[in-house]
């Protein structure tokens, strides 16, 4: 039988590592500007911790957009709901939270995070079925419906918990810092970095080593063809939407502990930053979202230290610069 083509080796695919190096380059450039290595290290660790928490909150949103072209402006609701649900465990068990034992602290922290994820994921199921299902393919209606959903969720939280800010102290064993010479690394930030890394690795392994992951990656690229292969992509999307919502709930819990407070509009306030992250990263790209989250956090921390007034607009400036360089984000996945 005839061979169809000459079997010339494929050109080696170009590895696009420049975006990967950006956080590193930024950190190195900032060292002489900040001057003090201990301040630089503190800011860098703070940036990494903040970036990981933002990544956890944003990762679901980027997959939701990439997979089904759905603009969910209500993603912040899952963040707030997750944080409030966590208080249902953390506040009644305050004695466990204030105990000196790390194990006791974790014994209350883990169920709080799991409950927050469970409730946020379940809320995601309801939101997808009730708000998003009727408006597939209609961006304007998606924006209106999900923004409306965010407002309703926020007001429901006010109605249930009241308008006051709820203090949420860190567990005792996660307070304070590890000291290395002049450098202090906050324990909670270290934990946030570890959890963020674990979530990133779990998502990467799922996307690259499982058939579900293959389907998600293929669906982000061409969902019509995935359906033509016989897969019901809407069910897959529902699963991704619920996981994304659950991760937002986890991120909300971690963010609330980071800020040591919970309030109903926290999700709303984070929404703009999360959208900046997924736009910078390239809609639908988990790797891009990870780098985007780190960059946003670094620019916010370094910028806030060097030019405090710039901190208010630093994220927007970063997005403008990145989009002028790469108009579809650092790692463009979808053709949308």
């Amino acid at each position: 039988m005839t061979e169809l083509v000459a079997l010339d080796p494929l050109p080696k695919p170009k590895r696009d590592i420049l975006p990967l190096l950006l956080p590193l380059i930024l950190a190195v450039v900032m060292l002489p500007l900040i001057g003090s290595p201990s301040s630089w290290m503190t800011l860098t660790v703070a940036s990494l911790a903040m970036g990981m928490m933002i990544f956890i909150m944003a990762s679901g949103l980027t997959l939701v957009f990439g997979l089904m072209d759905v603009l969910n402006f209500g993603h912040g609701a899952f963040i707030s709901v997750g944080a409030y649900v966590a208080t249902l465990v953390l506040l009644p068990l305050a004695t466990w939270v204030q105990a000196d034992s790390l194990l006791t602290n974790l014994a209350v922290l883990a169920p709080a995070a799991i409950l927050a994820m469970g409730v946020s994921g379940a809320l995601g199921l309801i939101v997808e079925r009730v708000l998003i299902l009727p408006v597939y393919g209609q961006h304007l209606k998606q924006i209106l419906m999900t923004t409306g959903g965010l407002i309703v969720a926020e007001q429901a939280l006010y109605a249930l918990w009241g308008p006051q800010i709820i203090p949420l102290p860190l567990p005792t064993s996660l307070r304070g810092s590890f000291i290395f010479g002049d450098i202090a690394i906050a324990k909670y930030r270290l934990l946030a970095m570890l959890v963020g890394l674990a979530v990133f690795l779990a998502i990467q392994i799922t996307l690259n080593r499982s058939k579900i992951g293959l389907l998600i990656r293929a669906g982000v690229e061409n969902r019509e063809m995935v359906e033509a292969l016989g897969y019901r992509i809407r069910r897959l999307f529902l699963g991704v939407f619920m996981v994304g919502s659950a991760l937002a709930g986890l991120g909300g819990t971690m963010w609330a502990l980071y800020r040591e407070q919970v309030h109903a509009s926290m999700g709303n306030e984070l929404t703009v930053m999360i959208f900046i992250v997924i736009i910078i990263g390239g809609l639908g790209s988990i790797g891009g979202c990870f780098i985007g989250a780190l960059l946003v956090a670094m620019v916010a921390n370094y910028g806030g230290f060097l030019v405090p007034k710039l901190a208010l607009v630093s994220n927007i400036l970063l997005m403008v610069v990145i989009l002028m360089w790469r108009p579809r984000g650092l790692y463009a996945v979808t053709n949308r």
């Binding site: 005839t2 494929l10 293959l214 292969l229 897969y231």
Partner: protein
């Protein structure tokens, strides 16, 4: 001979445009039927309507006696239809292997079937672990076809597989389609290149303005140059 696929008075609208105007035809089992026609005649829309990618506004589509016009695309595919779109639509971020693993919906890849596919597409074996996005146009077409036949199918819908490919590759694709047909698969193939069509097809349908304007044996059309000119006109010359 039994008809595997039947379209009866099928109309399709895309937005406010009325594309298919009552398409009627039947595809006999185990045969290769060519769907010819000029650009914009409605060939791709016909395939997409069969697959449920665009909904038929009215009319009936039956596959092996089962009505499918109201079914969702995944359910239609699960009835045993493989689809090779004009754009090939390989998943460029996935490797060749991953593309085929995904297409093997009912379980792991069958080694014997893979060897059968590698028999006419050796490039796929060589680039097994390479990203599909790095393949040449011809190799992507092979992958797209391999994806459609990686599991046994009743019917293959193939949209302009030779478009933009080098003659050597086209010749080999013709052999490949003949082999697939010998394995008992029914094929509905959209083609603009009449030389290719007459080598592959048993039967022929010609479309114009969203309607079937001719149906018959491929051999009869191949011998009747006057009919070819009347049906295919400039379109035929342009693609010879």
């Amino acid at each position: 001979m039994t008809d595997l696929l039947t379209l009866t008075n099928v109309h399709t609208h895309i937005g406010r445009y009325h594309i298919l105007h009552g398409v009627d035809f039947a595809i006999p089992e185990h045969q290769t039927t060519m769907l010819l026609g000029r650009n914009g005649a409605g060939k791709t829309t016909t395939l997409r309507t069969i697959m449920g990618l665009w909904a038929a506004s009215s009319g009936q589509i039956t596959l092996a006696g089962q009505r499918i016009e109201a079914m969702a695309t995944p359910d239609i595919a699960r009835l045993g239809i493989g689809y090779v779109p004009e754009s090939m639509a390989v998943f460029s971020d996935l490797t060749v292997k991953e593309n085929l693993v995904l297409a093997a919906r009912d379980g792991p890849l069958d080694d014997n079937r893979l060897e059968w596919i590698f028999g006419f597409f050796p490039a796929l074996k060589r680039f097994w672990l390479s990203r599909a996005g790095g393949l040449s146009g011809g190799q992507k077409q092979m992958l797209s076809i391999a994806r459609a036949i990686v599991e046994p199918r009743k019917l293959l819908l193939i949209d302009e597989p030779t478009k933009g490919l080098a003659p050597a590759i086209i010749g080999a694709l013709i052999e490949c389609f003949a082999e697939i047909k010998r394995s008992g698969v029914t094929i509905l193939l959209v083609e603009q290149n009449f030389h290719v069509a007459q080598r592959i097809g048993d039967a022929v349908l010609v479309m114009d303005n969203g309607r079937i304007v001719h149906r018959g044996a491929m051999a009869a059309l191949a011998e009747d140059t006057l009919l070819q000119e009347r049906l295919l006109g400039l379109s035929l010359e342009a693609h010879q």
